[in-house]
Amino acid sequence: MTGTPAGTSAARIGMVLGTEDVMPTVFWFAVSAGASVQLDDLVVVETLRPDGRPVRFYGLVDNVRKRHEGVTFESDVEDVVAGILPASVSYAARVLVTRVDPENFIPPQPGDTVRHARGDDLNMALSADKMGQASFPGGLLADGQPLPLNFRFVNGESGGHINISGISGVATKTSYALFLLHSIFRSGVMDRVAQESGGRMAGSSGGRAIIFNVKGEDLLFLDKPNRKVADKESEAGVSKGFAGDRYALLGLPMTPFRDTQFLAPPRPGAPGSAIVPHTDQRSEGITPFIFTLREFCAGRLLQYVFSDAGSSLNLGFVIGNIEEKLFRLAGAQQSKGTGLMVEDWQVDLSESPPEDLEFGDLGGVNLRTFDQLISYVEFKLLEDRDGEGDPKWVLKQAPGTLRAFTRRLRGVQKHLTPLIRGDLTEAEAARYRPNLLSGAQLSVVDIHNLSGPAQMFVVGVLLRQVFDHKEKYGRQDTVFVVLDELNKYAPRDDGSPIKDILLEIAERGRSLGIILIGAQQTASEVERRIVSNAAIRVVGRLDLAEAERPEYRFLPQSFRARAGILQPGTMLVSQPDVPNPVLVNYPFPAWATRGDEVDDLGGRDVVEVGDDWLR
């Protein structure tokens, strides 16, 4: 037994009640006069077996109540307060047991002493002793002690994936995901685990994170210090009664992310115009990303254009077929470049050929835009051979299906044209190719300015590339993928290619070293297997109706009720080592989340900086 001997550390705060059922998993205790017990307090009870051996119960207070004792009627409170009815106040707390040591599931004895869990007892209560070197801070408990999370349940060794639920705005899902990344990268847990593994893992030098920025430009300033953080943290320290700022309590540096890169789609414009990132608040340090037309075909990316491919069997067949044809087309290219040279497009037979076609030396056409590619596909399917199409492309599909296919392609043409280009040089293509796994440690991919289909396309393609890469190279370097709005990317009811990838990541990613830190407003509307594969589940403020759905059954009833009143910055965290969720708060971001939060003074006085400018 690793706990301290009973009663040496903390004072008695109560006794196990005999008037409520005492069970090995849940019991009530009467709080002693003068003691204060609140929700989420961690407590320890020691009971003796008949043979004299002690059994210790570690648990978490999930309910506290006071009531008048010895009176019958509710209106008796008036008489009690008026001083004519003698009554005493009973103050009791319910404990959900998180651990029994040794594992003798006998009930504690009514009258057993209850104490706050501190020191070693706390570690036992939160199973930190089992985690060893693999623990990293996941936030602060109510009394300012860090909550240990087990990294082996994050990096895929024993389990993987993190799932965060909560309504938008107040649940602060993305902030918590970033805090976890900060904690993983900067607490040194990756290095410790790598060391323990004897060099089979690369530690934090090999860890990478990809964050998709889906809303606003919140995540484009992760590398800049936040000028409010010092004030906010000293405020929080005072109001919560902590000894210092929360970063210090967690043992984490109060600094922004290091080694970052920011990717954004190019601003839409005429073909051949300058390529600038499509962002509003920040322009420096952001790399635009573009896919070339040739990559589009060679990488079989066509499927990610259609988010509803599963809706029709025939359509799926056509997509697969065209994808194959385009793949072969790309493979057959002789010249260098990013466009596609096609020999068999009789432009004069097309109904409305694009105007700016570039003809090759031998009569071929050099496709340089997504629009031209679609026109070419239309020609092959619907216009060739007097409207019958090229039989190898049509493959006896009904014209209606083919038209549905081209119509859909036309539908997304506007959105994808800036992203898929064939007019770049090889050097340009290399420069703008999204480079998530060999660039910086933390890559932020901004897709908030993209339309829905384009977002789906980018996320699908990038995740596929990561997945393919990891399939090839194995799990040594863990890649964390942060993706909000799983409701949209992996809905429970519809199928889509991006959902297939997310499912693959959820089910196989753990063994490949791809860890999904997913977030959604409503877990009930996300594919069940994605949520259920997450080892660590986090809940912020929830809609109360949502909280009653079966996806949240891992929360005990009292926690579900509380999920409706959680404040920003407070989360319920459930991890496999601890059978009950734990409420934590986490510090204000040390990185800027908006342009105006950036601390551009570098710690100096405003006047001083102003003087510098004037000089």
């Binding site: 009627f73 009690v80 307060v81 008026a82 001083g83 003698p86």
Partner: protein
């Protein structure tokens, strides 16, 4: 014919109203003018009201017969006397005082069988002390043990009242006569407690001290109002010799609530009683002060019908005290079972059968 409900539940020992005329003499003590007196405010100096009550219980009865055919009686019982300490101005929380049970093994002094009290009484398994203190009662009546327990309870109650009550100067004009502590005793005041601020509180009206010409006033009292103070001699049977030397009492009536139309017009009326000094023809200032504040005080402590079957007479602190006393005596079933198992173990099957 008029039909009215007795206000009290049928399972209480007596109805509230069984008015038998008082045989002796009742004098006007306060005034000759027989009319309702309005309640007055409780003076600030009265800061402590102690509601005293007791509760007896029989736990087992024993019939002992020896080989010679001698028969004897004994009984296991328990009683509590306790108090509620409260402030009439509501300045602090009410608290229970001295609510602790005592257990009694009462046995008859007659009858052939010798009672081995030390063998009969279970002992506390922790301390080894006798749980039941032996007490002897005289006579061989079946109810002897029960009345012994009742007697002990009343004594304990009187002793507690006496201990808690402050002295009451029986002076006619002393403006500071009202003490800061007043004991509210359940039932009539006890013999021998004179000179102390103890107010007896009689819930059931068995005896009519007023007579036909005066009792009409009770029906017209408004809640909180009282009758003038009267004086009588305890046990006065109307014949001069029998009552000579007995204690005197002051008494008055207070209405706690208006009676519902289906109840007797005297429902909601209580009789209050205090010790009266010998041969005095005046009401001491302290008694008068207490009579004046009694209406306000009792209306404040009166219970509501949906909470107490004997409302409003059964006061809120009294009901709480009764409940606490019942709890202090423990579960009757459990106690009886423990007595049974003790006797079986101690005396063997032959002795018990």
């Amino acid at each position: 014919m008029r039909i009215r409900l007795d206000p009290w539940p049928v399972d209480t020992q007596d109805g509230q109203l069984t008015l038998k005329p008082f045989a002796g003499l009742v004098f006007n003590a306060e005034t000759e003018y027989w009319a309702a007196t309005a309640p007055r405010d409780i003076p600030a100096r009265l800061s402590k009201i102690l509601v005293v009550d007791g509760k007896p219980r029989m736990e087992a009865r024993l019939l002992l017969d020896d080989e010679a055919g001698g028969l004897s009686l004994a009984g296991f019982g328990a009683f509590v006397a306790g108090a509620v300490d409260l402030c009439p101005h509501g300045s602090r929380q009410a608290a229970l005082l001295e609510v602790a049970a005592q257990r009694v093994l009462a046995y008859s002094d007659e009858g052939g069988a010798a009672v081995q009290v030390t063998r009969l009484s279970p002992r506390n398994p922790h301390t080894g002390r006798l749980e039941y203190t032996p007490h002897v009662f005289s006579g061989s009546g079946l109810e002897g043990a029960k009345s012994k327990v009742q007697r002990l309870m009343l004594d304990a109650e009187a002793a507690l009242s006496h201990k808690l009550a402050s002295a009451l100067p029986l002076d006619e004009h002393d403006p500071n006569a009202l003490p800061d502590t007043l004991v509210l005793q359940d039932g009539p005041v006890r013999i021998g407690g004179a000179g102390r601020a103890v107010l007896g509180y009689v819930k059931t009206l068995h005896t009519d001290y007023l007579g036909a010409d005066r009792i009409g006033l009770l029906g017209t009292l408004k809640p909180g109002e009282r009758t003038p103070v009267l004086r009588f001699r305890v046990g006065d049977q109307g014949d001069a010799q029998g009552s000579e030397g007995r204690e005197q009492r002051f008494t008055w009536y207070v209405r706690l609530c208006d009676p519902p139309f289906y109840q007797h017009p005297l429902a909601g009326v209580v009789r209050l009683e205090m010790h009266a000094p010998e041969d005095s023809d005046f009401v001491p200032r302290g008694v008068l002060d207490i009579a004046n504040l009694s209406g306000r005080l009792l209306c404040k402590l009166a219970s509501a019908p949906h909470k107490d079957a004997r409302a409003p007479q059964n006061l809120i602190p009294t009901a709480a005290l009764e409940q606490a006393m019942g709890r202090a005596m423990g579960s009757a079933e459990l106690v009886t079972r423990r007595i049974r198992s003790h006797l079986a173990r101690e005396l063997g099957q032959g002795a018990v059968a």
